[in-house]
């Protein structure tokens, strides 16, 4: 399952970060690394991007980019 498929309000653990180049590096630099716990806070009014909560702060990523992040949902 990928991060863009996660509903607002649910949590997941990152299993791997795909993508390439600047985007992938930026995701890793911002703390989206394997084993990180992520909460999908909300979806922007026009349906994209999404707001995440991880490592104690709020981060926004586009759905297309979130689709490159593999996750395992957490109850």
């Amino acid at each position: 399952m990928t991060l863009n498929e996660l509903k607002a309000g649910s949590r997941a653990v990152v299993t791997s970060v795909g993508g390439e180049g600047a985007l992938r590096r930026r995701l890793l630099d911002m703390g989206i690394t394997p084993k990180t716990l992520v909460l999908v806070r909300k979806v922007a009014p026009m349906g994209d991007p999404i707001e995440l909560f991880l490592r104690g702060y709020e981060l926004t990523v586009r759905s297309d980019d979130a689709a490159k992040i593999e996750i395992k949902p957490v109850e």
């Binding site: 791997s16 970060v17 180049g21 600047a22 985007l23 992938r24 590096r25 930026r26 995701l27 890793l28 630099d29 911002m30 703390g31 690394t33 394997p34 084993k35 990180t36 909300k42 922007a44 009014p45 026009m46 349906g47 994209d48 991007p49 707001e51 490592r55 104690g56 702060y57 709020e58 981060l59 926004t60 990523v61 586009r62 980019d65």
Partner: protein, 668 residues
């Protein structure tokens, strides 16, 4: 002594810089890029300079800001680094810290927003954190000016003694083995190229291209490097970039588990969530945004701006009047008299007339930016701008373009990436600025009385449409390649400090006056000269004989395919370069009417309705006034780029007006 100030965006870096230096700042650009470089001397310490580097999250080689920071650190070699860290968001902030420590410069960690951590019942064990990081840690609150003098004394002593960080190792296991093997492999290269060894080794393991090139490794060494990293990847089960990010974050997690005692979210973070439940609400967010921007426009261009402008105009016309009388009484020759009054005073006046708008607008923009709302605008509006390869962050500068291109272009500086900044600056002038309204009003009054609103709206929409098409073209030509990723922090809402806002307004005003003065001033004098002299450099009494008219006449065939070949139209367009309103007044002068109101009926002599519309389209799109040109040149950091933008834009205007006129002719 030179100190570098480095930290993440939203870590309070600018606030700290202002506390350290006061108004003692110099703003410029790093050579060759549009990245801002601020320098200042520390208050009461004359020989200590602080360089405020761009807000970055990592020393990766992907964005102009990161590259500039790396180059500055490696080539200019500051005597020390102040790394500012947001204590309420310590994990992600320390990620940059670990990379900075590897550079092995004398360094102090400024742990900012400690007041917020304490207020929410949390605490950070400073000695323990120092032990984990191997560098001095000073808790501060930049906004309350707490701990700043302690920070200054720590960093100056560390820098003076040249004390290196006590710890460079943040890794374990296979990554550790790889970094050490690589360090061993390249240690002579790093020494020769003067690149800190630990930094070089880590970057090589990470696969960092600029470091690989800078070290000038031979084929053998490159193969060994590949072998080492391949093996590491196989054992760790992650690729090199992920492995190193994972290593750093794992270390940070352990360090913060040992030193940071949080009691959940801070008050500010909880408050932010509540504010966001309204400001980024599914249905409310866009109406609220429109209301906020509408109010800012109304206050800037209507109420406050207009009030300040009126005061300013009274002052200017008073001084002009006094000078005028004095000159007349002294019996100065009419030419000098005209130069002073119509050239110098008009020039200075037109420069100053922008000032109230800039001050008021940047007051509000600074509020939006520093409070954290601008990031929410980007979040809400991102989807609209994505198709043309920009992000939501460009929305506000473009919107301001409808008021005035000058502050709009200047405000693009807050965008986080150079690519977005440049592209936004290129597209903003297509947003129809308010100075063009008198032109639209004049032409529509003369030709389109029954469809005034329709014509006005169609012009605004045409500007937007051309910007979109131009954006799409730019995206696949000049700005090809991957856009800078839109992975953006939404910082907690904070009350902006009066000091930061005042300094920001002051800086923008100073910047505008200094840079724009020469360009606008010279341009006004040149236009005055062209208007008042003929080609034999004799003064003229009738503007028809002036050099400007001669240039206009010379250029007029260019506009024939657009439907308006009359020399008066092209001359008016030329004078519009000083300020767009001047198109109307020049036309009035050239048509021999005393006031613009009487102009409308006479316009039928030089325009048909179709050519009038084509003239409007050209006016909408052609190169902006000299004040905007000065701002563009300043922000682009290059005269050639600014001039080629003007040429491009005028070319586009010509093409669009041509298509409209020729299509219209076939249809009508």
């Amino acid at each position: 002594m030179v100190l570098a100030l480095i930290g993440n965006q939203n870590s309070g870096k600018t606030t700290l810089f202002n506390q350290l230096t006061g108004s003692n700042q110099h703003v410029g650009n790093f050579p060759g890029v549009t990245v801002e470089k601020k320098e200042g001397r520390i208050k009461n310490l004359k020989d200590v300079t602080v360089v405020d580097l761009p807000g970055i999250y990592s020393l990766s080689p992907y964005t102009a800001e990161e590259v500039v920071t790396r180059d500055f650190l490696l080539k200019d070699r500051p005597d020390g680094i102040i790394n500012i860290v947001d204590a309420t968001n310590i994990e992600r902030n320390l990620y940059l810290t670990l990379q900075l420590i590897e550079l092995n410069f004398p360094m102090v960690l400024a742990l900012n927003m400690m007041d917020e951590v304490s207020a929410s019942g949390g605490s950070i064990d400073i000695p323990k954190l120092e032990e984990w990081l191997g560098i001095p840690v000073v808790p501060i609150s930049a906004s309350k000016n707490q701990g700043v003098s302690e920070l200054v004394s720590r960093i100056t002593s560390v820098a003076e003694l040249g004390t290196s960080p006590k710890r460079l190792d943040f890794c374990s296991g296979e990554v550790h083995r790889a970094i050490h093997a690589v360090a061993h492999l390249v240690d002579d290269h790093a020494f020769v190229q003067r690149i800190p060894l630990r930094f070089a080794a880590t970057k090589l393991v990470e696969g960092d291209i600029p470091t690989i090139n800078a070290l000038k490794l031979n084929q053998n060494e490159l193969e060994t490097l590949k072998h080492i990293t391949d093996e590491m990847e196989a054992i760790v089960g992650m690729d090199r970039e992920a492995a190193l990010a994972d290593m750093r974050y794992s270390y940070i997690e352990k360090a913060s588990a040992a030193a940071v005692h949080k009691s959940g979210e801070t008050k500010e973070q909880r408050r932010s969530l509540q504010i966001d439940s309204v400001l980024t609400h599914k249905y409310l967010s866009i109406p609220i945004f429109i209301t906020i921007m509408g109010t800012i426009f109304w206050l800037t261009f209507g109420v406050i701006g207009a009030f300040l402008r009126r005061i300013m105009n009274v002052g200017i016309s008073f001084i002009t009047g006094v000078t005028d009388t004095a000159l007349t009484r002294a019996g100065i020759s009419p030419i000098v008299h005209s130069l002073v009054i119509d050239g110098v005073f008009a020039g200075v006046g037109s420069v100053l007339s922008f000032l109230p708008t800039i001050l008021v607008l940047f007051f509000f923009l600074s509020m939006l930016e520093d409070s954290g709302y601008m990031a929410r605008v980007a979040f809400v509006m991102d989807k609209l701008l994505r198709k043309i390869g920009l992000s939501g962050r460009s929305f506000v500068p473009m919107l301001i373009g409808f008021g005035c291109s000058v502050p709009a272009v200047m405000s693009a500086r807050t965008l986080a990436s150079e690519r977005d900044r440049k592209m936004t600056i290129m597209l903003t002038p297509f947003m129809s600025c308010s100075a063009k309204l008198p032109i639209y009003a004049m032409i529509t009054a003369a030709f389109f009385t029954e469809h005034e609103a329709l014509v006005m709206i169609s012009l605004y929409l045409l500007g937007i449409a051309v910007a979109i098409i131009y954006g799409l073209i730019l995206k696949s030509t000049l700005f090809r390649g991957n856009p800078v990723p839109f992975v953006m922090e939404l910082p907690a809402y904070r009350l902006p400090s009066a000091k930061t806002i005042t300094l920001h307004m002051w800086e923008k005003a100073k910047d505008f006056l200094r840079k724009a003065f020469t360009v606008i001033f010279v341009a006004t004098i040149v236009i005055w000269f062209l208007q008042n002299f003929n080609i034999r450099f004799n003064p003229v009494t009738n503007s028809e004989d002036s050099m400007l008219a001669a240039v206009g006449t010379f250029l007029s065939p260019v506009f024939a395919p657009l439907g308006f070949s009359d020399w008066r139209a092209s001359t008016a367009l030329l004078s519009g370069l000083t300020a767009k309103e001047a198109v109307v007044s020049t036309l009035a002068v050239l048509m021999n009417v005393s006031n613009p109101e009487g102009l409308a009926p006479l316009l039928t002599k030089i325009f048909t309705p179709l050519s009038a519309f084509s003239f409007l389209c050209f006016t909408l799109l052609y190169m902006p006034c000299v004040a905007a040109f000065a701002a563009i040149k300043r922000e682009m950091g290059s005269l050639i780029e600014a001039v080629s933008l003007m040429v491009m834009q005028t070319g586009i205007a010509w093409l669009v007006a041509f298509i409209i006129y020729q299509t219209g002719k076939v249809l009508i």
